[in-house]
């Protein structure tokens, strides 16, 4: 994560993303999933589970985590870290709201 040199890029509006759901942003070869929680917080992770690259954007979102649809690894939305006994990290990206506009930091 290159926090210092990040640029905020407009990727859509809050309402484009379902609550307890995610939408993807394609950035060249990489896909970034932007998650929206029940209380409208946003998180961005690379759309790749550290286990076997499952698409996290397709998982079930609950309590600040997403469960990967392939093998049920639970990934923290905030840190990208696998929860419980599993070990691994997904890349995280800064994301913020400006009014209704979703800005992704790259």
């Amino acid at each position: 994560m290159n926090m210092q040199s990040k640029t905020w890029i407009e990727v859509g509006t809050l309402n484009d993303i379902p609550r307890q759901g995610a939408r993807c942003v394609k950035n060249g070869e990489m896909t970034i999933a932007i998650f929206r929680t029940t209380d409208d917080r946003l998180f961005a992770l690379e759309d790749k589970c550290p286990h076997k690259n499952g698409p996290l954007s397709d998982g079930i979102v609950h309590d600040g985590c997403v469960t990967c649809p392939l093998h049920n690894w639970v990934i923290s939305l905030e840190t990208g870290a696998a929860q419980g006994a599993d070990e691994g990290m997904s890349l995280t990206f800064p994301v913020k709201l400006d009014g209704e506009t979703v800005l992704l930091g790259l």
Partner: protein, 817 residues
């Protein structure tokens, strides 16, 4: 003892004297009892007025003593007649209607009056207190007209009134003088959580709001606050407190302070007069909760019966709010103070709050919000006054964390060698599990699953794994009685399903709140299960929660290991046409679909479809007349058939035609787990009906219906449900069986496991032997299908859930630098 009975007169017919008489009749028959009751009713349970207001109970439900009880005990009951005077020197009371009654002993139980704040307009029609059944009826009548109710007072009664009126359909505003709700029973943190909960139900809460006047000319029109705000209202409920009703006692010259003063035997300043209930002041305290009033009743009864050393002593009474879904519990003293220690456990996400207050290593108070399961346990400690220093570290987590009894190790598991394979799915041996437990200090099944993966897949070895934990950990591990659905709840699937129906829970948050989920939003295990239960139990009412479905059911295709999808169009009864095949071939070409495979369920699977191509693929298949095969669904998958009498020289019935009919009737239905059928035209069983979830075996004289087969992780042949003569009976029986499974199965429980659990004989009795039941189940299935038979592909092609299928944005790399 004299032959002549003594005369006992009771003024008031509330809960306290009612309880007193129950005790008295148990130990004595010395008395001839006369009761004067100002209310024209028998004794009813005032605590239950809130459920009457909210519509959960009726008056008849809350009667404690019916007319019969008074007759049985020879009680003279004057209803609707109040005592106006006590002539103590003559030992007589005089009623409003002029009845004069002599007494040897008198019990004053005049209760309390609601306090009406003396502001202008408080006497207008439409201003009610909340004290008795008349008030409750008045509120119910007002609620029928709709509009806004203002409840003045954010204490126990006021909030129960507010919640009840809201349930009756009114707009509700609560006005409370203090900064937080129920400040006498709750601390500010719990008060805040309560306010948030009520607000989320649409009840407006105004704290630090002082009522200036009630506005209205002929009836209530609104409430004006001291700060000038005006709230329109068609009903005002005053619930600001109660005052002991002491007028009668005062006029009779008894000692009266805040209440009628009694000693610890409940005797007033006149030795022939006792008093019980909310009108009493004993030990300098007056009481409004039922537990101390009942203790007064018992003490008074014992002294009336004869010499006794029973004495009333003050004890802390726990408070609970009778608003369904608002769980709070408080007991004892919880003010901050010198020498007091607080232990607090907050979980903002869950909205729970627990606080226990200790002094000198003893528990002196507890406030619980959201998670009140341990309330009684804390109260027990408070009453016993035991030293809690030994469990101080874990006290706040509750009773479940205090260890338990010893486990009887399972001898058979103990005897297994270390290299015995326990979990076949993951190839885990006993030795590996023991090593994981000891090396990592694991103590829960969930941890053992996470680390060793034993029993983490199909779960059939769970009992063995628990046995191994029991042996390895000894007394530190108690094998749980019933398995919770997941880490979010200790309730089992069966319990949750029963409660959804019993409590009429119709949303996932409602289930989680009412059944005290320990997480805010559940997890990937319980959410899909709850979503299924609600879909199955409330057809047409519950809105399917897409975010609680696994991705396969959300995008109507099966996710593959590389994140692409497989698409399977439905082929009813395994029949297809050249046109359908041509359309499938065209789709495969057009979208570069790498793999085309014939499935075991007699249809064609297109594998490797990119997510963004799903919608155009479906549109093309829809255009050729095909719908989703639901190959991804916990629902009806396929009905496999053989060619039957159409072609086969052995065929006995039109198995293909029946298979198509069945699939047309059943498609779209959701079930606990996938449901696969087969219809075979003769007992040679070419369609393999005898290992399906439900199978039909055609014979010359009709159709044999079998079910409960399995050919996956577990292999088992079907069991016969029964034989029927016509296709119509087949349809009805299969629909009924499916519906019974839908209504009682646990999520992900295949029909054979369900049948093992319920018993094949039992299922046969319900679905096959009992024609009325069979019809009723089939009808419920038919009704549910009205809402379920919608092709999800067509819906998505038409634009539903479009966000699932395309990226939010595609960035160009330069812009990102």
């Amino acid at each position: 003892m004299t032959a002549q009975k003594q005369k006992l007169v009771i003024v008031g017919n509330g809960m306290a004297p009612g309880r007193m008489l129950e005790h008295l009749f148990e130990v004595s028959d010395h008395y001839e009892v006369t009761i004067f009751n100002a209310e024209p009713r028998v004794n009813y349970d005032r605590i239950m007025l809130s459920p009457v207001l909210s519509g959960e109970k009726t008056y008849a439900d809350i009667i404690i003593h019916g007319e019969g009880w008074y007759a049985e005990h020879g009680i003279t009951l004057h209803q609707g007649d109040k005592i106006t005077e006590i002539r103590r020197h003559e030992r007589k009371v005089i009623s409003e209607s002029g009845i004069v009654a002599e007494y040897d002993k008198l019990v004053i139980a005049t209760g309390s009056n609601p306090f009406i704040i003396p502001v202008p307009g408080s006497d207008l029609p439409g201003v009610l207190a909340y004290r008795d059944l008349d008030d409750t009826d008045g509120m119910i009548a007002a609620a029928e007209k709709g509009g806004r109710a203002v409840v003045i007072g954010g204490g126990l009664l006021g909030l129960e009134a507010a919640a009840g009126l809201k349930l009756r359909g009114m707009e509700v505003t609560v006005i409370h003088l203090m900064p937080t709700l129920m400040e006498r029973q709750l601390d500010t943190a719990a008060g805040y959580l309560l306010q948030k909960e009520l607000e989320s139900r649409g009840i407006e809460v105004l704290c630090e709001a002082n009522t200036k006047q009630i506005i209205g000319s002929k009836k209530v029109e609104g409430v004006e606050l001291a700060d000038g705000r005006v709230i329109d209202a068609s009903l005002v409920v005053m619930a600001v407190g109660i005052r002991p009703n002491v007028t009668l006692a005062q006029e009779a010259g008894l000692e009266v302070n805040r209440g009628i003063v009694t000693d610890a035997t409940m005797k007033t300043s006149d030795p022939n007069i006792y008093s019980v209930g909310e009108c009493v002041e004993v030990g300098g305290m007056v009481y409004g909760l039922v537990a101390p009033l009942y203790r007064m009743a018992k003490v008074a009864a014992e002294h009336l019966a004869g010499p006794s050393d029973a004495a009333f002593a003050h004890a802390e009474t726990p408070t609970k709010l009778k608003v369904t879904g608002c769980d709070l519990y408080s007991v004892g003293d919880f003010a901050e103070g010198e020498g007091r220690e607080d232990i607090v456990l907050r979980d903002a996400q869950r909205g729970t709050y627990k606080r226990v207050i200790l002094k000198d290593n003893k528990l002196i108070g507890a406030v619980l919000y959201g998670d009140v399961a341990d309330g009684a346990w804390y109260n027990q400690m408070l009453v016993s006054g035991d030293d809690v220093s030994e469990m101080r570290e874990t006290l706040i987590f509750g009773q479940a964390y205090q260890g338990g009894g010893s486990v009887d190790p399972l001898a058979a598991v103990a005897a297994l060698p270390d290299d015995a394979e326990i979990c076949g799915c993951n190839g885990i041996t006993k030795g590996m599990i023991v090593k994981a437990i000891t090396d990592k200090g694991l103590t829960s099944l969930a941890d053992v699953r996470a680390h060793s993966k034993a029993s983490a897949s199909c779960g059939t070895c769970t009992n063995l794994v628990e046995g191994i934990m029991g042996i390895t950990l000894g007394d530190d591990f108690v094998i749980p009685a019933a398995q919770g659905m997941c880490g979010c709840t200790s309730h089992s699937h069966g319990f949750v399903r029963r409660m959804i129906k019993a409590k009429g829970l119709k949303s996932i948050p409602a289930v989680m709140q009412e059944l005290e989920w320990t997480t805010a939003e559940g997890c990937a295990k319980c959410r899909p299960a709850l979503n299924y239960y609600l879909v199955a139990d409330w057809p047409g009412e519950y809105k399917d929660d897409q975010q609680s479905r696994f991705i396969n059911e959300r995008v109507h295709a099966n996710i593959q290991k590389d994140g692409t999808y497989s698409v399977v169009p439905r082929m009813f009864g395994g029949m297809t046409t050249p046109d359908e095949l041509r359309a499938i071939a065209d789709v495969a070409d057009k979208y570069d679909i790498p793999t085309v495979k014939v499935t075991g369920g007699q249809r064609i699977d297109l594998l490797g479809v990119k997510k963004e191509d799903l919608i155009p693929v479906w549109a093309d298949l829809n255009a050729a007349g095909m719908v989703s095969g639901a190959a991804y669904a916990k629902g009806l998958r396929t009905v496999k058939t053989c060619v039957g009498t159409d072609w086969c020289r052995f065929g006995t019935q039109d198995s293909t035609g029946l298979g198509i009919k069945l699939e047309k009737a059943l498609w779209g239905s959701w079930s606990p787990a996938k449901l696969k059928l087969a219809v075979t035209g003769c007992p040679r069983n070419c369609a393999e009906a005898t290992c399906k979830d439900i199978g039909i075996i055609c014979v010359d004289s009709g159709y044999e219906i079998v079910y409960g087969g399995a050919a996956g992780l577990h292999i088992q042949g079907t069991t016969v449900l029964g034989k029927v003569a016509t296709e119509e009976e087949v349809m009805e029986t299969v629909c009924a069986l499916t519906q019974y499974y839908r209504e009682t199965g646990f999520y992900l429980e295949r029909i054979y496991k369900w049948a093992d659990r319920l018993g094949y004989d039992h299922i046969k009795e319900v679905i096959y032997d009992n024609l009325d039941e069979r019809k009723a189940f089939a009808e419920r299935f038919r009704y549910s299908q009205e809402f379920a038979q919608v092709d999800p592909w067509a819906e998505r092609v038409a634009g539903a859930e479009a966000h699932e299928f395309k990226p939010l944005a595609t960035l160009n790399l330069e812009a990102a630098e």
